[in-house]
Amino acid sequence: MSGDYVPVGRLDDIPPLGGRCVKTPRGPVGVFRTEDDRVFAVDNRCPHRGGPLSEGIVHGAFVTCPLHNAVISLETGELAGPDVGRVATIPVRVVDGEIQIAIPAEIPRDPVPGAPAAALPKTAARRVAPKESV
């Protein structure tokens, strides 16, 4: 079950198609704003190798991981395309221009924070695009 909603920052502080990282006691959460002002929050670690998703490029309701370009659906947390894997989504709402997230009592996450990709579905760990990495 999700816990109580807590305010984390203002909608205006995230540009449209932008993301920000919220440091919570349960680990970093990425908060994203789409072009049409929808707001999403997901566990801020890419299932591939833990890339900070809040630093990625947001397009539609997707974010592309800044490290090796995995594309993640902000709506479902699933990796898009042929890759497999997912990140936890976190309930979020905007109240009077203030973004609030419900830091869940239990976010399903890796056994150890920062656990290597080996602990994750193997197919998720495949998309590496060195030529386009920067």
Binding site: Y5, V6, P7, V8, G9, D13, I14, P15, P16, L17, G18, C21, V22, K23, T24, V31, E35, R38, V39, F40, R49, G50, G51, P52, E55, G56, I57, V58, H59, G60, F62, T64, P66, L67, N69, V71, E75, P82, V84, T89, P91, V92, R93, V94, V95, D96, E98, I101, I103, A117, A118, K122, T123, A125, R126, V128, P130, K131, E132, V134
Partner: protein, 828 residues
């Protein structure tokens, strides 16, 4: 429905993996499959172990079949279970832990074992072979402390790949090789010599004609002693002297075996219910050690298992060395002989050597070093034993020159059989790709890559895949689709650039609207490209869209794998001073920066900085006069220089001064891909100007301007643009060249690729032969610099930076819950 037959497989390497792929494609329900594998893992691409060793790939990258693959086919895979006995009467195999399985048909695919020379000390700790992931892990951990020494015994394919990988991991490596030249079984002495030189430039020592007498050490290796008395110190010894087919199990079961398990043309062993495939077999007197023959065998077995009649006739093999930066291809036989003729081409300057061995106008052998692009073409002629009489005169110049008009590459691909291997890394054949294209309606290389994995690893087969797209889609094939910028549009980069100008499109939404983008706001591929095109085309008007830039360009620092950043300030032309170094030292202390490194670009990198700290770091650096080094930018990076006439006894011009002048003139400009430059004071070229995007080599008579070099993913010497007499002239040429590139380059296309696409002569015609055009390019660059030359760090480190900038560097923090409020916008 008939009962499924039971197929048991011993070994789960590349050969049986391929058999099963083919089998399940042809007859998904024919067999109930059980696999026993001694290695505790799924099927992975063994040939890609070298990139794992060197750090260019990870194990996850080279998995061929993951757990889901087996599950989807109902295959039982026993990982880490070695079969110790085959009872052919009971038709049963048993593993060392007692697990047993009955079979109707058995497939033995035990591969081979690395051969260990039984010299004294061969069993010491620290002696490793090179065969599987465990071996690679051992080597990586031995290389960890850094700066340690490794000796590789054996200068063949495996030995050299191991040596190169260990050197990339920071070890000091010596290769000991018995024969006179490296890879003597695949190369002739000339190519062996070039290879040895290339290996030596990687800092790897090669000792040929060296016979190992003993490995020294008490419990752990300390060195290798040669027969001539030399002793080479070592912390690790890699034995890569050859392989022996693994036949023990088959022999014990009473199957006929010579060097390998004997099989007939149907790949059955002496027991008709037992097949064998891969490196463990001997067919018509030959044992193979490469994957291509195994794949051919696999196709035959899959056919036989489903009642077909295909047979295996033996294979002709070719070899490529997978060491980044060394291009080498060899196939067939090139021993000298009475009736044999040689055609040889040497280009010493560019290190190219090509040799073809012909017999009665048929290709018998081919060795290519340096330029291997035509390897597949020659190899096909060799396999077909095609008569090359008509092509003979120009044969050595390759496919592009063959005959009067260039051969149509599509025709060549069309001629390939359906089971011809297109992607060697992922084992994808022509038929599979064609099927995927038509069934899944694929229309671009990216899509083929996503669905079939063809060309997803090393990428050398991308060209072939593109030909297949053309071939399969026929008239429906739209060349634009193949070169589309990304999945959001059917337009290619050139069209987008042309239309941005023609339709005066000045914002990203305008481009997407007018050019009918298929997604609401693009993707991570097209948005940065569009943002660049708009910045370059409308410097005075366009407002940079930071959300369309990669994080590095948004944060003006390089993101690291742990989410921290690195910061590289400019050191003009590689020059620094006590005051600058002191300022850097102070920043490092103050912000507890964990790592400081001198980069390959003549300046200093501070790594491991928290994003929140960046503005403060920049503020401090700014006080000492530093500006951003744009180490993260698709823009001007570094201008390396040498000491030139200021100090050097050979210097012909002020190379340092000119380098600094170029850097101060051009910094801050955005370009399609990064641009790196260098100025050397004389042809000794200490600033390495001849492998840069743009380089200058000073000579007595002036400035030799170079361009289109590369030293990253590809290595390529520069082309000479022209020689000019004065520094001012040189600057004008360089700036004009870069501006031309800025206006016509595709996003992420380095100058060498751009120049190749446009043609060197087109570039020379516009920059060298047309002074007015050159001046116009130069002037447009100057205009755009007015808007670009602002230090991004200073902007963001100001006491009151603009709103967007502040929040980029501030993490959100959860606050105590506020009083329950009215919900305005439930988001999900």
């Amino acid at each position: 429905m008939t009962e499924k037959k039971r197929l048991v497989v011993i070994g789960n390497g590349m050969a049986p993996g391929r058999v099963l792929e083919r089998l399940f494609e042809a007859a998904p329900d024919a067999y109930d499959v059980t696999i026993f594998n001694a290695e505790p893992r799924v099927n992975y691409d063994r040939i890609m172990l070298s990139p794992v060793l060197s750090g260019e790939k990870t194990y996850e990258d080279i998995i061929i079949h993951d757990d889901d693959w087996y599950a989807a086919r109902g295959i039982t895979l026993h990982q880490g279970k070695r079969i110790t006995g085959i009872d052919r009467d009971a038709k049963r195999v048993t593993a060392e832990d007692g697990t047993a399985a009955h079979y109707d048909t058995l497939l033995i695919a035990t591969g081979s074992n690395p051969f260990v020379i039984p010299v004294p000390g061969h069993d010491l700790e620290g002696v490793v072979t090179y065969r599987d992931l465990e071996d690679v892990e051992k080597m990586i951990s031995a290389a960890k402390p850094g700066g340690r020494r490794a000796v590789v015994i054996g200068g063949g394919l495996l030995g050299l790949e191991a040596a190169a990988g260990l050197a990339m991991r920071g070890m000091r490596v010596t290769v000991i090789h018995l024969s006179e030249t490296l890879m003597e079984r695949q190369l002739d002495p000339a190519a062996g010599y070039l290879l040895e030189k290339a290996i030596a430039t990687r800092g790897i020592e090669v000792i040929t004609k060296a016979n190992t007498e003993a490995i020294s050490g008490d419990t752990h290796v300390t060195g290798v002693r040669l027969k001539d008395g030399r002793e080479i110190p070592a912390d690790m010894v890699v034995m890569a002297v050859g392989i022996r087919p693994s036949t023990g199990l088959a022999k014990e079961a009473g199957l006929d075996a010579g060097r390998g398990i004997l099989v007939d043309d149907t790949l059955r062993t002496s027991d008709p219910d037992v097949f064998a495939v891969g490196e463990c077999v001997e067919h018509r007197g030959t044992c193979y050690g490469l994957v291509a023959p195994l794949y051919e065998m696999a196709a035959v077995i899959a056919d036989q298992l489903t009642g077909g009649t295909r047979t295996y006739q033996g294979s002709v093999t070719s070899t490529k060395l997978k060491v980044t930066g060394i291009n080498l291809f060899s196939a067939g036989d090139f021993a000298d002989g009475e009736d044999r003729e040689d055609i040889v081409l040497r280009d010493a300057a560019s290190g190219v050597y090509k040799r073809l061995v012909l017999k009665q106008n048929k290709v018998q052998g081919v060795v290519l070093y340096g330029d291997t692009a035509d390897g597949a073409w020659y190899f096909q002629m060799l396999k077909d034993q095609a008569d090359v009489a008509d092509l003979r005169d120009t044969l050595i110049f390759g496919q592009a020159f063959a005959g009067a008009s260039p051969l149509d590459p599509t025709a060549a691909v069309a001629a390939l059989p359906a089971d011809a291997e297109i992607c060697g890394c992922n084992g994808v054949c022509k038929g599979q790709i064609e099927q995927a294209i038509s069934e899944k309606k694929l229309s671009s290389i990216d899509e083929v890559r996503a669905h079939t994995k063809a060309s997803a690893s090393c990428g050398t087969c991308s060209g072939l895949v593109e030909q297949l797209l053309k071939l399969t889609l026929g008239d429906a094939y739209n060349p634009l689709a193949v070169q589309a910028m990304c999945g959001c549009t059917r337009l290619g980069h050139d069209d987008v650039r042309r239309l941005i100008k023609a339709k005066a499109l000045k914002t990203i939404p305008a481009v997407m609207q007018e050019l009918e983008w298929s997604t609401p706001n693009g993707c991570a591929k097209c948005r940065p490209a569009l943002n660049y095109y708009l910045v370059a085309d409308w410097p005075e008007e366009y407002e940079d869209d930071f959300q369309s830039r990669f994080i590095n360009e948004r944060a003006h620092a390089n993101i690291q794998k742990d989410g921290t950043y690195s910061v590289v300030p400019r050191m003009w032309g590689g020059q620094t001073s006590a005051a600058e170094l002191r300022a850097i030292a102070d920043v490092v202390d103050k912000f507890e920066i964990p790592a400081v490194k001198v980069t390959g670009g003549q300046r200093i990198d501070m790594l491991g900085i928290r994003k929140e700290d960046l503005p403060a770091v920049w503020a401090d650096l700014g006080k000492a006069g530093f500006v951003s080094g744009h180490a993260y930018a698709k823009g001007l990076r570094t201008v390396k220089t040498c000491v030139g006439t200021d100090w050097c006894r050979f210097g012909t011009q002020d190379s340092t001064g000119f380098g600094v002048r170029i850097e101060k003139f051009m910094w801050g400009s955005w370009t399609p891909a990064k641009v790196k430059m260098a100025v050397s004071g004389c042809p000794r070229n200490c600033a390495e100007a001849t492998c840069k995007d743009v380089g200058v080599v000073c000579v007595d008579s002036g400035y030799e301007i170079h361009f289109a070099g590369a030293a990253g993913l590809d290595i390529k010497g520069t082309e000479v643009l022209t020689l000019v007499a004065s520094e001012d002239d040189a600057l004008e040429h360089i700036v004009a060249l870069v501006q031309m590139y800025r206006e016509t380059g595709h996003y992420l296309e380095r100058i060498y690729k751009w120049a190749k696409r446009l043609g060197l002569d087109t570039v020379r015609a516009q920059i060298v032969d047309d002074p007015q055009g050159r001046k116009a390019y130069f002037d447009r660059f100057v205009v755009s610099q007015k808007f670009a030359q602002v230090d991004p760090w200073a902007e963001r480190a100001k006491p009151e930076p603009t709103q967007g900038h502040v929040s980029e560097f501030r993490h959100f923090e959860p606050k105590p819950p506020s009083a329950p409020a009215r919900t305005l916008e439930p988001a999900q």
